[in-house]
Symmetry: C2
Amino acid sequence: MSIEEQPIQSVWTRPRRKRDQPALSQAQIVAEAVRLLDVEGVDALSMRRLGTALNAGATSLYRHVANRDELIELVVDEVYGEITVPDGDGPAGWREAAVVGAESVRAMILRHPWVASLLGSVGLSYLGPNVMRLNERLLGVFVTAGFPGDEAEQAISAVISYVIGMGTTEAAWLTTIAKSGQSERDWAERLRPAVEEAVQGHPHQREMLARAVAETDPVRLRDEKFRYGLDRMLDGLEARLKR
Amino acid sequence: MSIEEQPIQSVWTRPRRKRDQPALSQAQIVAEAVRLLDVEGVDALSMRRLGTALNAGATSLYRHVANRDELIELVVDEVYGEITVPDGDGPAGWREAAVVGAESVRAMILRHPWVASLLGSVGLSYLGPNVMRLNERLLGVFVTAGFPGDEAEQAISAVISYVIGMGTTEAAWLTTIAKSGQSERDWAERLRPAVEEAVQGHPHQREMLARAVAETDPVRLRDEKFRYGLDRMLDGLEARLKR
DNA sequence: GGTGGATGCGCACACTGTACGCAGAACGAA
DNA sequence: TTCGTTCTGCGTACAGTGTGCGCATCCACC
């Protein structure tokens, strides 16, 4: 070994005591996985890439995570932790709380569109601590609003299912756009010929397309669409509550 | 070449004219892919396995399908084709049609739980012929019900989003159960300790769990839960229609 | 100084999607 | 009949995947 290759002996170069600051931890791994997923998408998440992103070998991760499936469960619960729901005390406050909570869920999905493709395969996501916390909070809101215990759960499932369904569709759309590297409007423009061909023989959708072409702000359109369905669901729940 | 290895010359042994009946076709490939997905789940779908299931090499499939992603788009549209929606003519017939349609979608998802994990990644599924047909049909129902043209689309999205969201959750649950090889009840039983541990410190969910334990028929429970949210959504839409 | 447990890593295995180029069969034209 | 041309299927190959196994290293404690 030449003299240049010998490790420099100094307090500053000596490796840190590992027990104080282990090089890897489950929390770090999960956080880096989320970052990787956000930046590069769901296909880019491999144990090797995640390992090198953490300056570690791929198999080192297995000391902190049982396998890839478990990592994915952790990652899903992690982003659920970003959701906030207000208390919703006060009269009719439940509805405002539901709106804020629903939009918080949607915002999370749009920030992390890859969750949409994982929700259908992660079976026990509701056991994660963050999901438990979210559910408990929502149950509190709906119970104090006056929903009987067994119905509160159904009501929450209804709202959350709607949000997840709409979010899944939006996320799939946004993911394909992101892969193209274009803006949403440019992408829609480029897609137009194919769409116009597809709507041949479908008069209602042809008319819909004609209306859509006049619109120019796809983001506002999606916002309004989301809000419409949410309002209808909450109308239905409110009517039931006043029955 | 020994005499046993020589091909037997006869009308019956002579290979069929290939142009009349190509050994592989896109429709056959897609149908077999659906079968494979139903039986073995989404992880089992690889080009090689699909090829051998069709008595063909893996790369032969690429003559009829551009790549794996395209195959998945085709497969998703294929199962959308199983959905039926009644006409819904007559007074208030739209609501009955919506219920039947929604339950048809849910049944499809429960028959093919793997779609749930694909819906979040297939961006342009709505361009598929079967999805177009379904949308057109639904639009017809809602427009004749009295929804103005631009609102009909939002209303349909609302209902379908709810169904997809609930279906996704159910499918994820059923997929994990299927992987365990147990019945839904046995699985829930085996999961109970973990759930009881998880609900510590979450009083509402603890109470919910206590109620759930008394119940014995998980299938009926899921059916009712689905129907509850669907009814609330349709209530909200109906109120809007009568406004 | 010794011991025991935790941690990271290199290797290996079976498997994946798919690009490439070849072989044979069917067809239209000469 | 014979010659391209086109279509179809396949074998090989390459880069990349999840992960089981065993080794080397380090820390805390006796």
